[in-house]
């Protein structure tokens, strides 16, 4: 029970990291300032979670 939860927990961190990387890639490719700002804001919770801050 606990082992399954731990594995699922790690998977969620991995998913958060992958989504974070995709957002960063979109940010790098973007030419539109508004979209850059949007990607930066959307990235924040993923970074804070992967770094275990929030």
């Amino acid at each position: 029970m606990q082992t399954i939860q731990t594995i699922i927990g790690y998977l969620y961190y991995a998913i958060a990291a992958v989504i974070g990387i995709v957002i960063v890639a979109n940010f790098v490719r973007s030419r539109d300032v508004r979209k850059m700002l949007l990607y930066a804001i959307v990235l924040s919770p993923f970074v804070l979670r992967v770094l275990r801050v929030k």
Partner: protein
């Protein structure tokens, strides 16, 4: 083309700089709150400080391996466990537990106290609801700073939540986030999620120590009907009813309610069902929790004054009175302590063979007259081995 690429790079650098300027100080604030060491000074009655994992190895090395303060009179009698911080956004429950640890000297029986029953939930707040991160109590020597917390365990310690929380062992379906609510996971299980493990640890401790009286300190919003009341398991109903009558006749209004038999996961239900302890929950009013509140800050948390909650009261929408004096922290902690004291007295009346007696518990009238801070000790003045950090 080359120009536009160059422009785009400059803009990106500016955006990244802005982002770092926000995320670094913000992240540091969050980390400082999560890692803040909250001092508890061992009063003259504390004979030992244990860890919850001493009874339940399965919570060792988790954020919820909280301290259990033991106040042993050395004289045989009854035993009581008081827990504060089931919901760390209800500071009166925490502070009541602190005043017991820092003041009470037992003369018969044994008292156990947890100040931070759900330590994990005290390491996270609700920035989206504008919750303050800390609150300060003025004392005779300066300020004592405590962590403000949330109702639920920190997602960093329990993630992800299930789609639906299936309560163990009743199989009752509850809201997904309540798998992190310490007052929905009783009696818990040793291999469950961290909040379920924590309640199971308390159950194991209550059984091992033959606890007679279990008290769970809470606060409630005035919009909620379970307020200014003792919620008691049916086995403890006589004691709770007597305590309610004595308090309401002599000091302040304190009701009594039966723990619902079909609603699972609550401490007053499951501790009563799964152990021999008499289970009580105390609820005092906290306007900070009301959804209709205005500015959400430390002043509201501690002074409990809010014009919007007052207007809700004038419209007849509340279950407790409120006026311009509000519900300050002194009144709330004082009522909690006086209620605990009355429960102990009434228990002794019904069960004279299991007395619990003590000196120096600050009561409602003392705390309101002298201020709560008068009953908090100075960690700087205490010997190093008499200060514990939660």
């Amino acid at each position: 083309m080359a120009d536009s690429k160059g422009n785009s790079l400059v803009i990106k650098i500016v955006v990244v700089a802005l982002w770092l300027a926000l995320i670094i100080p913000g992240g540091r604030q969050l980390a400082a709150h999560r890692n803040y060491e909250e001092a508890v000074v061992l009063g003259p009655g504390v004979t030992e400080v244990k860890k919850l994992s001493d009874w339940a190895p399965y919570v060792a090395n988790t954020p919820n391996d909280c301290s259990i303060y033991v106040l042993d009179s050395g004289v045989p009698g009854g035993s009581m466990l008081v827990i504060g911080g089931t919901h760390p956004e209800e500071p009166a429950g925490v502070l009541s537990a602190v005043t017991i640890v820092e003041n009470v000297v037992p003369t018969t029986g044994k008292i156990y106290v947890a100040v931070r029953a759900n330590r994990s939930a005290s390491t996270v707040t609700r920035p989206g609801d504008a919750y303050p991160q800390f609150f300060n109590i003025n004392t005779d020597f300066g300020k004592r700073t405590f962590r403000m917390g949330d109702r639920w365990s920190n997602p960093l310690d329990s993630w992800p939540d299930p789609e639906v929380y299936v309560h163990y062992p009743s199989k009752q379906l509850l809201a997904y986030m309540d798998v992190r609510n310490l007052n929905r996971t009783w009696p818990g299980r040793p291999d469950g999620m961290i909040t379920e493990r924590t309640t199971r640890a308390f159950i194991d401790m209550i059984k091992a120590e033959n606890i007679d009286i279990f008290v769970d300190n809470h606060e409630a919003e005035l919009e909620y009907s379970v307020i200014s009341t003792i919620v008691a398991h049916q086995a403890a109903a006589d004691v709770a009813a007597m305590a309610s009558m004595m308090l309401s006749a002599g000091e302040f209004n304190m009701g009594m309610e039966f723990s619902p038999t079909l609603l699972h996961g609550l401490s007053h239900r499951e501790v009563g069902d799964h152990t021999d302890a008499y289970a009580f929950e105390i609820e005092v009013p906290e306007p900070f929790l009301d959804r209709v509140r205005g500015i959400t800050d430390e002043a509201l948390l501690l002074e409990g004054k809010d014009e919007f909650v007052m207007r809700a009261g004038q419209a007849g929408l509340l279950y407790e009175k409120i006026d311009e004096n509000g519900w300050n922290i002194h009144e709330r902690v004082g009522r909690t302590n006086s209620t605990i004291d009355m429960i102990v007295q009434m228990f002794a009346m019904f069960y004279p063979d299991k007395p619990i007696t003590y000196e120096s518990l600050p009561m409602r009238n003392d705390i309101v007259a002298n201020g709560l801070g008068h009953y908090l000790l100075d960690p700087a003045q205490a010997e190093a081995d008499r200060v514990v950090y939660e």
